[in-house]
């Protein structure tokens, strides 16, 4: 099990029952990747409209993923390793002005 704090921002919390922060123990046999975490999150934490969270094997366009406050692009994207105690933030882009 890998203990992960998952945070939602930019309205994405609506897909998670309006929860902004969730603590999760993600089952993992070996190293947990961002790809596995996204799939597990979709299957276990998303309450509604999962298609607005996931597209294909990644997050939907317009969603930024941060691992410990750093863009996952800098950590290996889907292959980024998620370690025990990490915080992963999913942010939906805002367009309002």
């Amino acid at each position: 099990m890998v203990a992960v704090t998952i945070e939602l921002s930019g309205g994405l919390e609506a897909l998670f029952g309006e929860q902004k922060t969730l603590k999760a123990n993600v089952p993992s046999s070996g190293q947990l990747t961002a790809s596995q975490l996204i799939k597990w999150t979709r299957d276990n934490l998303v309450v509604e409209r999962a298609d607005l969270f996931v597209q294909g094997n990644s997050v939907r366009p317009g969603i930024l993923v941060l691992i410990n406050d750093t863009d996952w692009e800098l950590c290996g994207l889907l292959n980024a390793e998620i370690e025990d105690g990490d915080t992963v933030v999913f942010i939906s882009t805002l367009h309002g002005g």
Partner: protein, 580 residues
């Protein structure tokens, strides 16, 4: 005084106010625009290029050690293009003008609406209906007549974007839609202009500075694929707290000032997140410029020569504004009624009872299954078969402890007397707790499917609020019971599967109650059709069509859409009903 005279007086007042403001503005302009003090020969003072009035006006920034006169001089020679004069652009243009940016360009195509004023603070009441770019420019000039302010009323379009951004030193994206955001970024990549991108919605804000050489990402680096339309919420639907864009717009002005003057570090490759609920700011580290980016990468395919022909609508699937979605025509005309038809089916207010419920006031009848007296057709209490469950009623104006229908069915200790239930089964109009209004027992069932906040703000009497959750969520079971008490369980095939409140161990008692109601209800033949009519209203008449379509697909053939919703009601029946 009649309405037309009221309007005339209001119009004259507004005009008078505007003229007074212009006059004052001209007076102040003459006073502050240019330096009237002519240095005397041999005594001329020296400085860093600022005029005497600039030194006086910006003195608090000049004496600031980390800013100083050199930075101020750069600001006064600088120029900023602000795309959008709304919630973000308003504070941004005011601070830029006040701070002394030499030339401020304001891009917008919209006309100002009353519902903009709570956050778009560069505008005044007198400007409602006027062009936002022009209105914001007037405010900027009133604040600082010594700078140049230009209103670009044609908006930012693929055909003019490159020319516009090229004419300024820094660009602020204060827009409200995805196509403009991609266009602004692409144009800034080509013109090599830094772009301060802000966004706000609800209680959230986001800010980052894009296109900063040499390694700063552009908008496409962060979001190479456009988001789905369903992911893009609008202020008009999702709401926005006024200060949320106010804070982000103010920070955009800060970033512009830093970029123009070279003071501080730009917010490049970083994203600032604002959470108004916790008053929390958080800055996260973003990726750098992406080598594969089609706008700013070494092999960019979006160039000066083809930007004008790029189809941003097709790329994003969205228009260049955040206007309300167009009216849809989903269901046949025979399933739709006009607002005039609705008015004719609603009882005049004067004949309705006056026992209005106050917010949070809970009628005793809601705490247990209500038994209406047969003759009490104007009773404010709700018959059991039409009693809405607690979860769809707006807070502050409903009985918070309404017993869900499923629970009532399980309460075998409190069965409903037959005769009374009969009254209840036909007296279904009474279900609007906020108004407590009851209409004739044979009238249509009135459903308002807007979100509870909108219903709580203003609704028509006699309507039950059942917020529509979208096509991805089944209609709530109690709604089906409300609409179709006689057939919802044992006749309509698609309904029972979406009746989660009905416990499998109690169907008999439930059906018995419903059937009791029907068996005891006198139904004159001329009222049968009206009694089965269900009128569905929403804000503009789109959601209501989807609800009618769903109800009809479940066999509820009395469901009718009100064309144009409450917006049409306000336009055609009662102008006092607020359009929002």
């Amino acid at each position: 005084m009649d309405g037309s005279q009221d309007a005339l007086v209001a119009s004259l007042r507004a005009e008078n106010q505007e003229l007074i403001r212009r006059l004052a503005s001209q007076d102040s302009a003459q006073q502050y625009r240019s330096d009237s003090t002519v240095p005397q020969a041999g005594l001329a003072w020296e400085g860093c290029g600022l005029t005497g009035s600039q030194v006086a006006r910006y003195s608090r920034q000049l004496v600031l050690p980390s800013f100083g006169p050199q930075a101020q001089a750069r600001l006064c020679k600088g120029s900023v293009l602000v795309i959008g004069a709304g919630g973000l652009g308003s504070p941004a243009v005011l601070y830029l003008a006040a701070g002394g940016v030499g030339r401020v360009g304001i891009v917008d195509t919209d006309a100002l609406e009353l519902s903009n004023l709570h956050r778009q603070i560069a505008h005044q009441e007198v400007s409602v209906g006027k062009h936002k770019a022009a209105s914001a420019a007037v405010s900027c000039r009133a604040l600082n007549s010594s700078i140049q302010v230009i209103a670009h009323e044609q908006g930012l379009l693929p055909g003019n974007a490159l020319d516009l951004v090229s004419a300024y030193d820094v660009v602020l994206d204060c827009s409200d839609n995805a196509p403009t955001r991609y266009l602004a970024s692409d144009a800034c990549c080509i013109a090599a202009k830094p772009l301060v991108s802000g966004a706000a919605l609800g209680m959230d804000g986001q800010l980052t500075t894009l296109c900063v050489a040499p390694a700063g990402p552009c908008y496409r680096c962060l979001y190479p694929q456009a988001p789905a339309l369903a992911s893009c919420r609008r202020c008009a639907e999702a709401g926005v707290l006024g200060v949320a864009p106010g804070i982000i717009g103010t920070l955009q002005a800060l970033e512009a000032i830093k970029l123009l003057t070279g003071v501080g570090q730009p917010l490049t490759s970083r994203l600032l997140l604002l959470d108004c609920l916790s008053t929390g700011f958080r800055t996260i580290k973003l990726r750098h410029r992406q080598p594969a980016c089609i706008a700013c990468g070494p092999h960019a395919t979006i160039t000066a020569s083809n930007l004008a022909s790029y189809d941003y609508r097709a790329f994003t699937g969205q228009p260049f504004n955040d206007a309300a979605p167009p009216s849809i025509s989903l269901i046949p005309a025979a399933q739709r009624l006009s607002v005039q038809d609705l008015a004719s089916r609603m009882q005049p207010a004067s004949t309705r009872p006056s026992n209005q419920l106050q917010p949070n006031q809970q009628p005793a009848a809601f705490s247990r299954p209500h038994v209406a007296e047969p003759e009490a057709s104007n009773d404010s209490m709700i018959p059991i078969s039409r009693l809405p469950s607690a979860d769809f009623c707006a807070s502050g104006c409903v009985a918070a402890e309404t017993v869900p229908i499923g629970h009532q069915q399980a309460n075998s200790c409190n069965p409903l007397p037959e005769g009374d239930e009969g009254q209840g089964a036909k007296g279904f109009d009474s279900a609007s707790q906020p108004s407590g209004g009851v209409q004739s027992s044979a009238g249509p069932l009135l459903l308002d499917v807007r979100p509870k906040e909108q219903f709580a703000a203003a609704h028509l009497p006699g309507f039950v609020n059942v917020p529509y959750q979208g096509p991805h969520k089944p209609l709530p079971a109690f709604l089906l019971e409300l609409c179709h008490p006689s057939q919802s369980v044992n006749q309509a095939p698609g309904v029972s599967s979406v009746l989660p409140s009905l416990s499998a161990s109690e169907p008999d008692a439930r059906i018995q109650n419903l059937e009791l109601g029907l068996s005891q209800t006198p139904k004159p033949s001329d009222q049968c059709e009206a009694a089965g009519e269900i009128l569905v209203v929403c804000r503009r008449g789109n959601d209501s069509q989807e609800v009618v379509q769903q109800l009809r697909s479940l066999g509820i053939t009395g469901a009718m859409d009100i064309i144009g919703g409450l917006t049409a009601w306000s336009q055609s029946v009662d102008p006092s009903f607020p359009i929002y």
